[in-house]
C-alpha cells in the first residue's frame, strides 16, 4: 500500500477491506468457483459499485467522483485489497471502459452506457481484436469499411468477463490506425465463447464477430485515432494488475511468515534457521520492491507523467517476474501442504499467473522499456 494516504483514502481503504472480508472471504471465493457462472453475483457487484468501485475514474459531471482527487490512486487501493482476497468482479474492464467513455465518448455514448456501468446494472468487457501498444493480445479481428461504418470478422483474445458483459469495448486496427468500437453483446453476429480459466472466479471468454455490421456511431473517438486511448487503457489496466499482484503477494508472504513462525522442526521454529531467514529476507525485499514499483507506476499514470509508459512496464516486468518467484518459494516454505487443493496458496498463484500472462508478459513489457530507452523498434 502507498505509505502516504489521505484520511479519506484511509477510510475508503478500510471500508473496502471490511466489505470484502465480510462479504467475500476465501471460503466464499471457493463456493463461487463452483456455483456462479460469472464468478460473482450481480447483487454483490452492485454493492461494490455503491462503495465507489466503478466511479473513481469518472468525472463528477458524468456521475462519478474520486475520493482524493486522484481517482486511479483510490482505485488501486481496491485492486490491492482484491488481490489480498483473490476477489471476483470485473474491476479492471469496467473501469477501463468507463474511463475510455469519459475520455473519448460522445455525449450520447456516455448518456447511454455510463449510468448502468456506474451502478452495476450493466457490465463491460475490454476486447482486444488486434495486437496493440506492443502487446500481442491474441486477437485477430479483421475490419472492412462500408459506406456508414465497418464490418468486423474474427475472434478476440482472452477477454475478462467477456461472457457476462452487456457491452464490449473492441480494440481493432483499421487501415487508418487503432480504432475502438463500443458494441452491445447482443448485437447480431456477436457471440462469446467461455474459456477455461486458471483463476477460480475470474472468467475469460473469446468474443467472436461473424460478419458484424458496426455503424459509425459505435466508434469511440476518431477512426484510426485511438492509439493514445489504447495506450492509456493499457496503462490503467496494468496499474490495476500490478496493485492486485502486489496485494496478493503481500498476503501470501504474511501467512507464510506466520506459518514458519508457528511450525516447529527438530524442536525449534522454522524461522530460527538461518537458511530460511535469509530466504525470507530476500522475499521481503522483493515484496517491498514490488509494492514500491506498483505505487510509482500508479502515481506516474495518475499525474500523466511523460515516463508513465516506461514506469508501468517497469512495474509489470518486475512484479510479473518476482511475484510468481515469491509465491513459489512460499509454496516451498510450506512443504507438502502447499501443493494441496485445500490450502489457499493456489488461489493466489492462480490469480497472479492470470495477471502475469494477460495484458503483456514481462518479456513484452521489457521490450516496451527497451523502446522507451531509445533502442528503436525491432522488426517483427
Amino acid at each position: 500500500m502507498d505509505l502516504r494516504l489521505t484520511d479519506d483514502q484511509q477510510l475508503f481503504h478500510e471500508t473496502t477491506r471490511k466489505f470484502l472480508e465480510s462479504t467475500c472471504p476465501l471460503e466464499t471465493v471457493r463456493q463461487l468457483a463452483d456455483g456462479e457462472p460469472a464468478g460473482y453475483e450481480r447483487g454483490w457487484w452492485k454493492s461494490g459499485t455503491a462503495l465507489g468501485w466503478t466511479s473513481l475514474l469518472v468525472t463528477e459531471e458524468d456521475g462519478g467522483g474520486s475520493v482524493s482527487g486522484h481517482g486511479l490512486l483510490d482505485l488501486v487501493l481496491v485492486a490491492e485489497e482484491m488481490g489480498r482476497l483473490v476477489s471476483p468482479g470485473p474491476l479492471m474492464p469496467v473501469n477501463v471502459v468507463t474511463e475510455a467513455l469519459c475520455r473519448s465518448g460522445t455525449d450520447e455514448q456516455r448518456r447511454q452506457v455510463l449510468p448502468g456501468l456506474l451502478d452495476g446494472a450493466s457490465i463491460a468487457s475490454w476486447c482486444w481484436g488486434a495486437p496493440a501498444a506492443g502487446i500481442d493480445t491474441g486477437g485477430a479481428v479483421r475490419v472492412t469499411p462500408t459506406t456508414d461504418g465497418f464490418i468486423i470478422d474474427g475472434v478476440s483474445g482472452p477477454t475478462e468477463g467477456g461472457a457476462e458483459a452487456d457491452v464490449h469495448l473492441v480494440t481493432v486496427v483499421t487501415t487508418a490506425g487503432p480504432t475502438q468500437l463500443l458494441v452491445p453483446s447482443n448485437h447480431p453476429g456477436v457471440r462469446a465463447e467461455k474459456m477455461h480459466s486458471l483463476d477460480l472466479v475470474r472468467r475469460y471468454a473469446k468474443v467472436s464477430f461473424d460478419h458484424v455490421e458496426v455503424p459509425r456511431e459505435m466508434v469511440i473517438g476518431e477512426v484510426g485515432g485511438a492509439a493514445g486511448d489504447v495506450e492509456h487503457q493499457l496503462q490503467t489496466a496494468v496499474v490495476l494488475q500490478c496493485a492486485e499482484m502486489a496485494g496478493a503477494v503481500e498476503r501470501v508472504f504474511e501467512f507464510t511468515v506466520e506459518y514458519a513462525t508457528d511450525r516447529y522442526s527438530f524442536g525449534r521454529p522454522l524461522v530460527s534457521y538461518q537458511a530460511l531467514k535469509h530466504r525470507f529476507a530476500d522475499l521481503k525485499t522483493w515484496l517491498e520492491a514490488s509494492l514500491a514499483t506498483a505505487g510509482a507506476a500508479a502515481r506516474s499514470v495518475d499525474t500523466a507523467s511523460k515516463s508513465a509508459a516506461e514506469l508501468v512496464s517497469v512495474a509489470k516486468a518486475y512484479i510479473g517476474e518476482r511475484g510468481p518467484a515469491i509465491l513459489q518459494d512460499c509454496v516451498q516454505l510450506h512443504g507438502g501442504i502447499g501443493v494441496t487443493w485445500d490450502h489457499d496458496l493456489h488461489l493466489y498463484l492462480r490469480r497472479v499467473m492470470v495477471d502475469v500472462t494477460q495484458l503483456g508478459m514481462p518479456r513484452e513489457h521489457r521490450e516496451r522499456v527497451a523502446v522507451s530507452m531509445g533502442m528503436g523498434e525491432v522488426e517483427r
Binding site: P269, V271, K284, A292, A296, A317, R366, M375
Partner: protein, 422 residues
C-alpha cells in the same frame, strides 16, 4: 535518540525559500560557476583522475562560498538548513557539471551525519564547517583484518593515559585514507566488558606519527582501499564521540547512516557520481555496451538492457519507499538494509548481463580505454561485501524487520577477554 531513528531533515520547507525559485537560482549559478562534465564523463571517472582529492576540495570550496554546500545541514554548522526537496532539486540541476561527489560518501552522508547526532558542540563546530568548506575529507576506521562482519569483536586497543588515549592495532577497508584528513575510529577501551560494551568511538587525525597507511591492490587494478597500522598513536580524550565504552551506540548510528547512504536515502549527498553528462540521470551502461557491440537489434540483448533498466528503476523506487516509511514510522530504521540488499544483488546481475552482452570482448580487447568490463567483472562481489556483507543485511532484515529469532552467538554477554577471537 535511538541509534536507529531516521534523519530529522524535513521533506519540504513551507517557511524557507520556495524549491522552484531555489532551483532556478541554482541553475543560473551552476551555469556561471561550475565546470561542465566533458561529454561521456561521469564524476566517478573524474575521481579516478583526482589522486590527491585537490579537484574535489576546490569544487567543494566553490560551492561553500556561494552558499550551495551542505544544503540539508544546519545553518549553525555552515550548511543551508534547507529540505530534502531543495537538495533533490540541486542534484538534478547539477547532473551536467563537475561536482565534488567524493565528499558525499563517507564524509557527508555517514561521518558528518553521525557527528551531527552524537558529536559535542565543540566537535561539530570544529569539523562540520571544515568538511563543507572542502578542507576535511573523512574516512571510517571500523573493519579490522581479524574480522569483517563481527565488527563489535574488534581488537584495536585504546588505553587511557590521563587526558589521552593511546591507540595500537590495525584497521582495513578504509576507502582513500591516504588522501583523507580525519577518521572516525572504533577501538576497544574495556576488555573485561562484553564485546559491545567495551568500545569507544574516536575522532582521529590521520596523518601523524605512529600511523602507517598501505594501499591495497585490488583485482580490478584499483588501489583505493587501505590498511592502517597504529603504533602508540595519542588521541586526546576530547576527541571521544559519545561516551567512553558506549562506542557501539555511535557505531550503530554510523552504520545506519551508511545503509541510508548506500541505499540512496541520505539527504546529505549532493550531486551524483555515476551519471554522465547528456544522460539526464538516465544513463544505461549496458545500452552503451550494446551500442559498442552492435547488438541493439538483438532481441535477447534488448531484454537484458531493459531488465537492467527495470532493476535500476525499482531500486530507486524501493529506496524512496523505505526512506518515506522510516520517516513515517511504517518501517523500523533497520529496513534500510533492504535497498542495500537489492542494490547489491542488482549489481551482481548487472555484471552478469554485461558479460553476456560484451561476449569475447571480456577476455580480449584492443581499445586502450581505462575501463573494461572484464576487469570490472572481477570485482563483481565488491558491492555485496563493502559496507557490511549481504549476509549481514539478510540477518538484519530477518531479525530486526521481520522479528525472527537472532542467530546464536558464543560471545553474547561474556567478558570479551574470555571470548575466543582471532
Amino acid at each position: 535518540m535511538s541509534p536507529f531513528e531516521g534523519s530529522t531533515v524535513a521533506e519540504g520547507d513551507p517557511e524557507g525559500e520556495d524549491v522552484e525559485s531555489f532551483r532556478l537560482r541554482a541553475r543560473a549559478w551552476l551555469a556561471e560557476n561550475m565546470p561542465r562534465l566533458p561529454a561521456g564523463y561521469t564524476n566517478a571517472m573524474l575521481i579516478r583522475e583526482d589522486e590527491t582529492g585537490e579537484r574535489a576540495r576546490r569544487l567543494q570550496r566553490t560551492l561553500f562560498e556561494a552558499g550551495f554546500a551542505g544544503i540539508c545541514f544546519p545553518v549553525e554548522y555552515g550548511g543551508q538548513g534547507l529540505s530534502r526537496a531543495h537538495q533533490r532539486a540541486f542534484t538534478r540541476e547539477s547532473l551536467e557539471y563537475q561536482m565534488p561527489t567524493q565528499f558525499n560518501v563517507p564524509t557527508f552522508t555517514i561521518l558528518a551525519a553521525t557527528l551531527l547526532d552524537y558529536g559535542t558542540e565543540e566537535q561539530k563546530v570544529r569539523h562540520i564547517p571544515a568538511m563543507l568548506r572542502g578542507d576535511e575529507l573523512w574516512v571510517q576506521f571500523l573493519s579490522e583484518p581479524s574480522g569483517g562482519s563481527d565488527l563489535a569483536g574488534l581488537v584495536t586497543r585504546a588505553s587511557r593515559d590521563g587526558d589521552v588515549f593511546i591507540l595500537n592495532g590495525s584497521k582495513i577497508w578504509s576507502t582513500g585514507a591516504f588522501r583523507a584528513d580525519y577518521a572516525m575510529c572504533l577501538a576497544r577501551t574495556d576488555w573485561h566488558a562484553p564485546k559491545h560494551r567495551g568500545l569507544t568511538m574516536f575522532i582521529m587525525k590521520i596523518h601523524q606519527p605512529g600511523v602507517e597507511i598501505q594501499q591495497i591492490n585490488m583485482v580490478n587494478r584499483t588501489a583505493e582501499f587501505c590498511q592502517e597500522f597504529f603504533d602508540d598513536v595519542p588521541i586526546p580524550a576530547s576527541d571521544v564521540v559519545g561516551e567512553v565504552n558506549d562506542g557501539w551506540t555511535v557505531a550503530s548510528r554510523l552504520l545506519f547512516h551508511e545503509r541510508d547512504a548506500v541505499g540512496g536515502g541520505s539527504p546529505f549527498a549532493s550531486g551524483v557520481a555515476v551519471v554522465a553528462a547528456g544522460h539526464g540521470g538516465q544513463r544505461s551502461e549496458l545500452l552503451e555496451l550494446a551500442g559498442e557491440t552492435g547488438t541493439i537489434g538483438d532481441p535477447r540483448v534488448r531484454q537484458l538492457v531493459a531488465e537492467d533498466r527495470v532493476n535500476q528503476r525499482v531500486q530507486g523506487q524501493l529506496a524512496q519507499r523505505i526512506t518515506t516509511g522510516i520517516r513515517t514510522g511504517a518501517f523500523p530504521p533497520p529496513a534500510g538494509a533492504m535497498p542495500r540488499l537489492l542494490a547489491a544483488t542488482n549489481t551482481e546481475r548487472n555484471f552478469d548481463m554485461a558479460v553476456e552482452i560484451a561476449g569475447s570482448g571480456i577476455g580480449a580487447w584492443t581499445h586502450d580505454n581505462d575501463f573494461n568490463w572484464g576487469e570490472a567483472y572481477l570485482n563483481r562481489q565488491g558491492g555485496s561485501l563493502g559496507g557490511g556483507s549481504t549476509e549481514m543485511a539478510r540477518n538484519i532484515i530477518s531479525e530486526r524487520v521481520l522479528g525472527m529469532p537472532r542467530e546464536y552467538a558464543a560471545d553474547r554477554d561474556r567478558p570479551f577477554d574470555e571470548v575466543r577471537h582471532n
